[in-house]
Amino acid sequence: MSESLEIKDLHVKVEGKEILKGLNIKIKQGEIHAIMGPNGSGKSTLANTLMGHPIYDVERGQILLNKEDVLQYKANERAKKGLFLAFQYPTAVPGVTMFNFLRTAYNAVKVNGHAKDKKQELTSVLQFSKLLNEKLKMLKMDESFVKRYVNDGFSGGEKKRSEILQMALLEPKFAVLDETDSGLDVDALRIVSEGINKLSGPNLGVLIITHYQRILRYIKPDHVHVMIDGKIVKSGGHDLAEKLEEEGYDWIIKEIKNE
C-alpha cells in the first residue's frame, strides 16, 4: 500500500518571524512534486522544518507521515521513519570519512529504522563496501570518494552527488531535495538528475524544492506548486513550470493581488 506525506496548515516561525503561513500539500509514494518559488518565499524553511531542524518553531499544523504526526520526533527519528532531506548546503564534518559516516547512517536508518525487509541486514564492512560500490557506480563516482572527509573541501557538484548517494543508500520513503540544482554545471546536473530518476519509483515520493526550472528539464514532476510568502498559491502540471521559466513569478503575484 502506498504511503503518503501530508503537510496540513503548517505555520512556522524563525526567530519570532512567521515564514510559513498555512501550507498544505500531500505527496504519495511514487509521485514527484516540485515546489517553486521566488527567493524568500519560505522554501528552505519548509525543507528544514520537514526534517526537524530545532531552530524552526512550528506554531500550528501537522506533518503526517503515513498518518502519523512526525512533529513529535527529532531529526534522527524522522530519518528512521523514512524521511530524507538532500541539503542545499551540506555541512562539512572534518576528520570523519564518508565511508564511516555512510556506514553509520546506513546502520542507523536501514538496519534499525524503517527497512521493510524483515530480514535484518548483515552489515559487515565487506558487505557494506559492496553495496556502496554499486551505488557509487550508479552515480558515476569514484571509489576513492568515500575515503574523503564528509563534505570537507567538496566542490558544489560533489556535495550534491554525495547527497544523492546518501539517498540511494538510505532508500527513504520520501525525499525532499532542497535546491539540489543550485551550483551545478550542466554535466553535474545531468548526472545528479539521472541518479534521482533511477531512484524514483513506486516506493519513493519526491519533493523537489527549487528556484529555477532547470532541473525540471531532467526530472519530470507530476505536480508543480508555486509557493509565495509561505503558502502554496497555485498548483498545476509540468506546463506551469514552463510558464514560470518563461514569464517569471510576477504574473502569479499579480493574479493573487487581483483576487
Binding site: 528544514n48 526534517m51 526537524g52 531542524h53 530545532p54 531552530i55 527529532k74 531529526a75 534522527n76 527519528e77 524522522r78 530519518a79 528512521k80 530524507f84 532531506l85 541539503f87 551540506p90 555541512t91 564534518v93 572534518p94 576528520g95 570523519v96 564511516n100 559516516f101 553509520t104 547512517a105 546502520n107 542507523a108 536508518v109 538496519v111 534499525n112 529504522g113 524483515k118 530480514k119 535484518q120 541486514e121 548483515l122 552489515t123 559487515s124 564492512v125 565487506l126 572527509y149 564528509v150 546518501q166 538510505l170
Partner: protein, 855 residues
C-alpha cells in the same frame, strides 16, 4: 592485628566498594605513608642499588623538600604528600615467564589483555604493578641484535655504566618539584637501548597500573637510541576498573569504567566479585530478562541500568533511545541492553607461542604462525563441537560415520594447517575418530581454545576477528553440536536452531559472536545435580531463524522447492531489537524489596558459578566516589643520538582520583627525529608537556597531544619545542575536548635560541568545548631570539555547530552518536597516527565519555 594493618585493611575495604576490581592487597613490602629520608634509604636498600644512586635519591629528596609547588598550571594544592604510600613491592621475585606471576597479578593483567598483546606482533612487553616491574620480555631476534628492553631497576643492575652516564641528564631533579620527587622515590619503568643502525620495526609496549589506594606510582623510563636506529615505544596506563573490557572483548566499557560489579562477572573473573561486599540498606531489585534463563540480577535500587523504556504496550518499541534508569524505577517490559562489541581486529596471520617441552626448568617455546583465515575458523568450530586433546600430544576429532563431508573437511583442514594427515580410527557405535599426532597442534588448541568440554572457550583475538571468519566458526560448530528443531504444538509450530554445550563461557561467547552478525540467540540453562555439569542451550528462533539458516546452509522449509523465506506468523514477532551497540531485551519480571543491612554481592562458593549476572549494561555512577587520591609522577628521558628516530606513544585513562604529573623530555641530536604522541583521558588533574630539545643540526621534533576533560577534571597539557641548533624543525599539534564542566588548558613553549638559523616550527592548538559548563584556555609561550626562522601558529576554539548536529541527525544518528562522531573527526589527525589497537581504544574511550553522563 596492629593498628597500622587495620588501617590498611580499612582502606582496602572502602576502596573495593568504590571501584570495580581491585585485588586484595598482598604485598611483600609496603612503606609507611609519607616521605622521609628513611623511606628513600629503605627503597634504595631493598633494591640493592649502587651508592651513587642512593646519593642521587637523597639529593633529589632535599631538592623536593626545598622546592615550592609550581606557581603556574593546574591547582595542585589538594595533594597531600603525607597521605601517600611511596613504595609498594608486590612480589619477592621477578617473573621469568608469564605463568610464574602470582595468580592475582596475572589475573589483573589478563583483564588488561596483556598476554594477548604479547602474542601479537609486539617486540616486547613490560608490565608494572604498583612500584615494581613484574615482567619484561623481548622478542628473541631483537635481543640478538642487542636491543635492551628491561625494567629500569634491572637496567641499573645489568648496565650500571650506561645508566649512570645518562640517568637524570635529560630531566635533572632540579628541573621541577615532581621530577625531584620521582628522582627520590622512583621505582620501575623501562630501560631501552637500541644499538647503532638497528631498526625495531614492532612497538615495545609497557603497561602501568595502580591498584592500591593512596598509592604513588613513580616509574622512570630511559630510552637511548643510538646512531641511525629506530624504535617505537608505547605505554598504556590504566587505573583499576577501566580496562576490563579488554579481557575478552565481551563487555561494554562504560560500566566497567566505574568499576561496576555486575557486569564484570564472567567465569574467568571469579575473584572480582568475591571481594565486592558491602552492607546495603534500602531497595533491592531482582530482575529477570528474556533471552537468558540462567540467572536473575540482584541489584541495589539506586543502581542505574542502561535501559529503553517501553512506549508500546504490545509488541515492541519503535524507538531505541537509551537512558540510565535506576533499577528500582524499571518496569516489566522495559528493555535492558546487552552490549555488542563490534570492534574488528582482523589479521591474516598470527604468531602463537607454544610451549613444547614439559617438566623442564626452561621450557622450549616455539613461535608458530597460523594463517588465521576462514578455514582456520571453521577448524576451530569443529574443535569446539567434536574436538578433544589427549595427553597433550594428540588433537582428536570424533564423528559419526555418516558425517562424511565433515570428516573430509576436517582432514583437509588439519593437513592445511599442520602439514600432516590425521589417522582415522573406527570407534564404538559407528564412530570415526581423526587423530593428529602433533604436540604443537594439541598444545596450541589447548592454549587458545581450552580442552575438556567444560573448559572450552574462545580467546579475545578470536572474538574480535572479522565477522566473515566468525561465520565459518558458527557454521562448523553448529554442524557438530547443533540441531534444528521443528515441532508441532497444539498452538502451532515451533522452529528453532539449537546448540548445546556445557561450557558456560562458550555459550556466552557464541551468543556474542551471533550478536555481531545481528542474530539474537537466547541461552537456557539446565541445572543438573553433581557430578553432572550444567548444560547450556543456545537457541536461535523467531525473526532470526532465516539469517542463521543462511549461515549454516540449512533449509528450514522442508522441500527444496519451498526454500523461500517463509516465516511463520509467530516467528515474525521478535521481542528483541539489535542496534549497532546493543541488543535490547525486555524485562520479564522485576521484584523490589526493602532490605536492611544486607551484604550486597555476597555469593557463596557454589552460587559463584551460577551467579553471573553480567550481560546487561549497568552503571555505578551515582555512588559517592573517590575520597582518596593517588599520585602518578613519572619521568621519561629520551636520548636520540644522531640519525636515530624515536616515537613514544601514550594512551592513558586514569580514574578520576589520580593526579597525573609527568615530566617527559627528549634530546634530539643531529638529524635525529623524536615524536611524542600523547593521549590523556581521565585523571583528576594532568600536567604534562612532552618536550623535545633539538640540540643537533637538522633534528626534528613532533608532538601530538590529545586531552579530554570530563566532569571535575582538568587536563593541563601541551608540548615544548626548544631549538638549540640551526636547520631544526618542530611541530606541535594539540586537540583538546572539554565536557560536563571539564577544563582543558593548552600550555606550550616554543623557544628558539639566537643563532639557530633556518628553524621551522608550526604550532596548532584546537579546542572543542561541548557545553556551556566547560572551559578551555590556550597559553602558547613563544620566545624567538633569531630572525631567520619560519614560525606558524594557529589556534581555534570551537563548539559543535547546530548545523553539523542537524546534518548527522538527519541521517539517523542520535545526538550522542552525532557528537561522538564529530569529536572523533576532530581528533582524527592524531588518532590516525596511533597503532590500530590504541586508536580503537581511544575511540571507545571517547564514545564512552560522550554517552556516559548519567541523569
Amino acid at each position: 592485628m596492629n593498628k597500622n594493618q587495620q588501617g590498611i585493611l580499612q582502606i582496602n575495604a572502602d576502596y573495593a566498594t568504590k571501584y570495580g576490581f581491585n585485588v586484595p592487597e598482598n604485598y611483600v613490602f609496603k612503606s609507611r605513608k609519607g616521605l622521609s629520608r628513611e623511606i628513600v634509604e629503605k627503597i634504595s636498600e631493598m633494591k640493592n642499588e649502587p651508592k651513587w644512586m642512593t646519593d642521587f635519591r637523597l639529593r633529589s629528596l632535599d631538592i623536593f623538600m626545598k622546592k615550592s609547588m609550581p606557581k603556574w598550571g593546574a591547582n595542585l594544592d589538594t595533594i597531600n604528600f603525607d597521605d601517600i604510600y611511596y613504595y609498594l613491592k608486590p612480589t619477592e621475585e621477578k617473573a621469568k615467564s608469564w605463568e610464574d606471576l602470582p595468580e592475582e597479578i596475572k589475573n589483573t593483567f589478563d583483564r588488561l589483555g596483556i598476554p594477548e598483546a604479547e602474542r601479537k606482533f609486539l617486540g616486547g612487553v613490560g608490565a608494572q604493578y604498583e612500584s615494581e616491574n613484574l615482567y619484561h620480555s623481548i622478542r628473541e631476534d631483537l635481543a640478538k641484535k642487542g636491543v635492551i628492553f628491561l625494567g629500569m631497576d634491572d637496567g641499573l643492575k645489568e648496565y650500571p655504566e650506561i645508566v649512570k652516564k645518562y640517568f637524570g641528564t635529560i630531566v635533572p631533579p632540579e628541573d621541577n618539584k615532581f621530577a625531584a620527587l620521582n628522582s627520590a622515590v622512583w621505582s620501575g619503568g623501562s630501560f631501552v637501548l637500541v644499538p647503532k643502525g638497528v631498526k625495531v620495526d614492532v612497538p615495545l609496549q609497557a603497561y602501568f597500573r595502580i591498584n592500591a589506594a593512596n598509592m604513588g606510582q613513580f616509574e622512570r623510563t630511559l630510552i637511548i637510541a643510538e646512531e641511525n636506529s629506530f624504535v617505537h615505544y608505547t605505554e598504556g596506563c590504566f587505573t583499576k576498573g577501566t580496562p576490563i573490557k579488554t579481557i575478552s572483548g565481551l563487555k561494554n566499557i562504560e560500566d566497567i569504567k566505574e568499576g561496576d560489579i555486575v557486569l564484570t562477572h564472567t567465569n574467568s573473573y571469579k575473584k572480582v566479585y568475591k571481594i565486592q561486599k558491602r552492607k546495603h540498606d534500602g531497595v533491592m531489585c531482582t530482575i529477570n530478562y528474556f533471552g537468558d534463563t540462567r540467572h536473575e540480577i540482584k541489584i541495589t535500587g539506586d543502581h542505574p541500568i542502561l535501559s529503553v523504556r517501553r512506549t508500546k504496550t504490545e509488541y515492541k518499541n519503535n524507538e531505541w533511545e537509551t537512558e540510565w534508569v535506576e533499577s528500582k524505577n524499571l518496569e516489566k517490559g522495559d528493555y535492558v541492553a546487552i552490549p555488542i562489541d563490534r570492534t574488528i581486529i582482523s589479521q591474516d596471520g598470527r604468531f602463537f607461542s607454544v610451549k613444547l617441552s614439559r617438566g623442564r626448568h626452561t621450557p622450549k617455546v616455539i613461535e608458530f604462525k597460523i594463517d588465521t583465515d576462514k578455514d582456520f575458523f571453521r577448524l576451530v568450530g569443529y574443535y569446539m563441537a567434536e574436538g578433544s586433546i589427549i595427553k597433550e600430544n594428540y588433537l582428536t576429532f570424533t564423528f559419526n560415520k555418516n558425517e562424511k563431508a565433515f570428516i573430509e573437511d576436517v582432514k583437509e583442514l588439519l593437513e592445511k594447517f599442520f602439514g600432516k594427515a590425521p589417522l582415522e580410527n573406527e570407534e564404538y557405535k559407528n564412530g570415526i575418530s581423526l587423530v593428529l599426532c602433533s604436540t604443537l597442534a594439541a598444545r596450541l588448541f589447548k592454549q587458545e581454545f581450552g580442552s575438556g568440554a567444560k573448559n572450552k572457550s574462545l580467546p579475545k583475538w578470536f572474538m574480535l576477528e572479522a565477522p566473515e571468519k566468525q561465520v565459518e566458526f558458527i557454521k562448523a560448530y553448529w554442524r557438530g553440536d547443533g540441531s534444528f528443531i521443528n515441532k508441532k504444538y497444539s498452538w502451532g509450530k515451533k522452529r528453532m536452531f539449537r546448540i548445546n554445550t556445557i561450557s558456560e563461557v562458550l555459550a556466552e561467547q557464541t551468543r556474542d559472536l551471533l550478536l555481531r552478525l545481528n542474530i539474537f540467540a537466547s541461552i537456557n540453562v539446565w541445572n543438573k545435580k553433581e557430578p553432572r555439569s550444567n548444560s547450556f542451550a543456545i537457541y536461535i528462533g523467531g525473526s532470526h531463524l532465516h539469517n542463521f539458516a543462511d549461515i549454516v546452509s540449512h533449509n528450514i522449509n522442508g522441500s527444496a522447492n519451498n526454500a523461500g523465506k517463509l516465516l511463520l506468523k509467530q516467528e515474525l514477532m521478535s521481542y528483541t531489537q539489535i542496534t549497532d551497540k546493543y541488543a535490547f531485551v525486555p524485562i520479564k519480571d522485576i521484584k523490589r524489596e526493602i532490605v536492611k543491612n544486607v551484604e550486597v554481592y555476597n555469593f557463596s562458593v557454589e552460587d559463584d558459578e551460577s551467579y553471573i549476572a553480567h550481560g546487561i549494561a549497568v552503571h555505578n555512577c551515582t555512588a559517592p566516589v573517590y575520597t582518596t587520591d593517588s599520585l602518578h609522577s613519572a619521568v621519561v628521558e629520551i636520548i636520540a643520538l644522531p640519525g636515530s628516530r624515536v616515537r613514544y606513544t601514550t594512551i592513558q585513562n586514569w580514574s578520576p582520583n589520580v593526579y597525573n604529573l609527568v615530566t617527559k623530555r627528549a634530546y634530539a641530536y643531529e638529524n635525529a627525529t623524536v615524536e611524542w604522541v600523547d593521549c590523556n583521558i581521565g585523571s583528576k588533574i594532568t600536567s604534562k608537556y612532552p618536550s623535545v630539545f633539538l640540540v643537533g643540526k637538522g633534528a626534528k621534533g613532533e608532538i601530538l597531544s590529545i586531552a579530554f576533560a570530563g566532569k571535575g577534571q582538568h587536563q593541563d597539557a601541551g608540548g615544548k619545542a626548544v631549538h638549540l641548533a640551526p636547520n631544526t624543525q618542530s611541530t606541535i599539534t594539540s586537540k583538546s575536548i572539554s565536557k560536563d564542566g571539564g577544563r582543558t588548558t593548552y600550555r606550550g613553549l616554543l623557544k628558539v635560541y639566537p643563532g639557530c638559523k633556518n628553524v621551522k616550527s608550526n604550532v596548532r592548538c584546537d579546542a572543542l568545548i561541548l557545553d556551556d559548563k566547560s572551559a578551555s584556555d590556550t597559553i602558547p609561550y613563544m620566545e624567538i631570539n633569531e630572525k631567520d626562522v619560519s614560525i606558524g601558529h594557529e589556534a581555534s576554539v570551537g563548539k559543535i555547530s547546530d548545523e553539523q548536529l542537524f546534518y548527522l541527525m538527519s541521517r539517523g544518528l542520535n545526538e550522542a552518536e552525532a557528537m561522538a562522531m564529530i569529536v572523533r573527526g576532530f581528533i582524527e589527525p592524531i588518532s590516525k597516527e596511533l597503532p590500530m589497537e590504541f586508536a580503537l581504544e581511544l575511540n571507545r574511550l571517547i564514545e564512552l565519555e560522550m554517552e556516559g553522563s548519567v541523569g
